[in-house]
Amino acid sequence: MGRGAERGTGPGAGGDVTRPGAGPLAVAGASAGGPAEVNGSAPMPETGSASTTEVDASAPGPVPDSAAAGELGGDLSANPDRSAIDDPATTSAASPRRLTRRPARPTIALLAATAVLLLAVLVSSLGGAAGLPVLGTTEALLDKLPFVDIHTGLGPVQLSVLNEIRLPRVVLATLVGALLAQAGAAYQGVFRNPLSDSGTIGASAGAGMAATLVIVYGGGPEHTVAGIGAVPLAAFVGALGGVLASYVLGTLVGRGGTASLILAGVAVSSFVGAVQTFVMQRSTADVRQVYSWLFGSFAASDWSLVRLALPYAVISVLIVSVHARHLDVLALGDDEAATLGLHPVRTRLIVLAAASLATATAVAVSGIIGFVGLVVPHVVRRVAGPGHRLLLPMSLLVGGAFLVLADLLARTALAPAELPIGVVTSFVGAPFFLVILRATRERDR
């Protein structure tokens, strides 16, 4: 299955193709929405494409002559206006309505990421003990699309393997990966801290402790409350509780700034972690179960879990996405954001709540899966730039693809045994992350 894993790095590879475009102009618009295409394909396609190449050329590497001349002239004469007028090349090359015309690159990046995700879903649906045929499975997947009706060559057993075992698992992994990655991007934006993820503000720790308590004292995973498993429920409540505790404490201790929130999150996490460790070492019989939950797994996936998670996923993704530009403004710091008409504390609270809802949902159906929320946004940022209007949807797509493929590896690498998914994400993800960092390192300069 090594090849599957290689293709698993597809999100990066696909993204890499679009990388040169992720230079200046693509990022300039940073948004993918509707008007983009209208403007992009606007009146004069010739001028449009000409100015695109112009800008691309000026992108990463050496400064184009005209700009350098302009800069130099400005420096020497201390009169930037004059130098610009003296040098007609500067004005004509630079001006053609750079911002008025929206770039098409974000759309390309999103389409590429979508294609990668779909491919990952297909590959992951194929892989496994039952040996489903490629063509039939593809047809069966297409058949599921609305308005598409294809007769598949799959037998009833194969169909039921696909529908009842593979697909729920694949869908759930996609969902969880997407949620974790977007939540990570949101946390990093809200805290203006690249090391933030769901662990930063107590979500993971809260979920871990609550789940441990239920496994040890509450009758274990078989126990249900109103038809919902007790462990997912506890994890959900625990994650939100951890965030709430961190937020309240951070606001009480500081002024609601990012530093005090992060520090409160650290305090809450280590306190809660201590409780969890204490409970675990008191009842060694349950440790195995606790551990298997702590490292995450999709082994128990079925459609009911998908149905359980979906409403929360949709709500949280919508709320976070709506605030994409707010996060861009927040990157300037609270003071400057406030002078631009934003309410930094309120925005932070809303986005934190939504991201934590996403995390809680993900943790509830899959256990704690590290790395995705931390690293996927970074990889995407390297490719798509820091603007959240592209970063957030790209994180959804790439995060979903990454986790689907990680899960494929988790269930096939040592088949019939399963690896904990958290082990796979880190084991495969960490080297991959370093490769991405190296491949895009000119951005650091």
Binding site: P24, V27, A94, R98, T100, L340
Partner: protein, 267 residues
């Protein structure tokens, strides 16, 4: 007509008074410099005027009480450039300048053609059109200050607050930035309030000055009225000579300790 007016403005941080009943009157279209030794409350005054610090007393911009304005309405009236602006290294110049349009956008923050055109104009106005696709991290100090000014200009607010706009700039770039601000002030009709460390620069560019010491105004007026040798000695604890530059604006020179001068000459 006064664009900005403060009367008896108090600001307390952690119950400690930072501003103690400051009065300020800035005429529309003028350049007003706020001076004072370190810790006098200059930055605090700007932050109170732009509405990011709570204050008691009266502060009005364009005839409206700052504290009563909604954040967006306020941001359409006043633009603010902090002493050390946050410039996310991976953001491009164009993206950054476009953020200046925030107060003119709806909740979803979708920029219209007009918003892009305004940002374009700001870029061109500050001779940054060729830099639109550059990462902020790759800009030099002087360029960065211009980029921040472009963002403030894109905000299309009538009042521009600058907190130490020349810190960390070399001599030529100091002059370039201040000339630029002066030009924007006259062509765009902006009202400018800036804090400035350099008294001679303040005297050169500002129409009126306010000298702030320990959170209270100790002098206000033209440069010639405010910047006297005696006052500077008293409030800055500095030995200076004040000359006239020939155009009626004072020039302030630091003077070396007389005893040491004699020692070094004899030694």
């Amino acid at each position: 007509m006064s664009a900005v007016k403060a009367a008896g403005a108090w600001v307390r941080l952690d119950r400690k008074p930072i501003l103690r009943g400051v009065d300020l009157t800035v005429a529309a279209g003028s350049w007003h410099a706020v001076l004072g030794p370190n810790g006098a409350g200059k930055s605090t005054l700007l932050k109170a005027v732009v509405g990011i610090l709570p204050y008691q007393g009266e502060i009005q911009v364009g005839g409206e009480a700052v504290a009563k304005l909604a954040a967006k309405a306020r941001a359409r009236l006043i633009a603010y450039v902090p002493q050390q602006p946050q410039l996310p290294a991976d953001m491009t110049v164009a993206e950054y300048v476009l953020l200046g349009r925030t107060p003119h956008l709806g909740y979803l923050g979708v920029e219209s053609r007009t918003d892009r055109a305004v940002a374009d104009g700001a870029l061109e106005r500050l001779d940054l059109a060729g830099f639109a696709g550059r990462r902020l991290g790759a800009m030099s100090g002087g360029e960065r200050q211009r980029v921040v000014l472009a963002r403030a200009l894109a905000q299309q607010a009538g009042v521009l607050l600058l907190d130490e706009p020349t810190t960390a700039l070399d001599l030529g770039h100091q002059q370039q930035v201040l000339d630029l601000v002066d030009e924007l002030r006259s062509t765009e009709g902006l009202t400018v309030i800036s804090t400035l460390h350099d008294l001679s620069l303040a005297a050169q560019y500002a129409d009126d000055l306010t000298l702030l010491v320990d959170g209270a105004v100790v002098a206000r007026g033209t440069a010639r009225e405010v910047l006297t040798e005696q006052r500077i000695a008293e409030h800055y604890g500095a030995r200076v000579r004040v000359f006239d530059d020939g155009a009626g604006r004072p020039v302030i020179h630091l003077v070396r300790d007389g005893r040491l001068v004699r020692e070094s000459r004899s030694g």
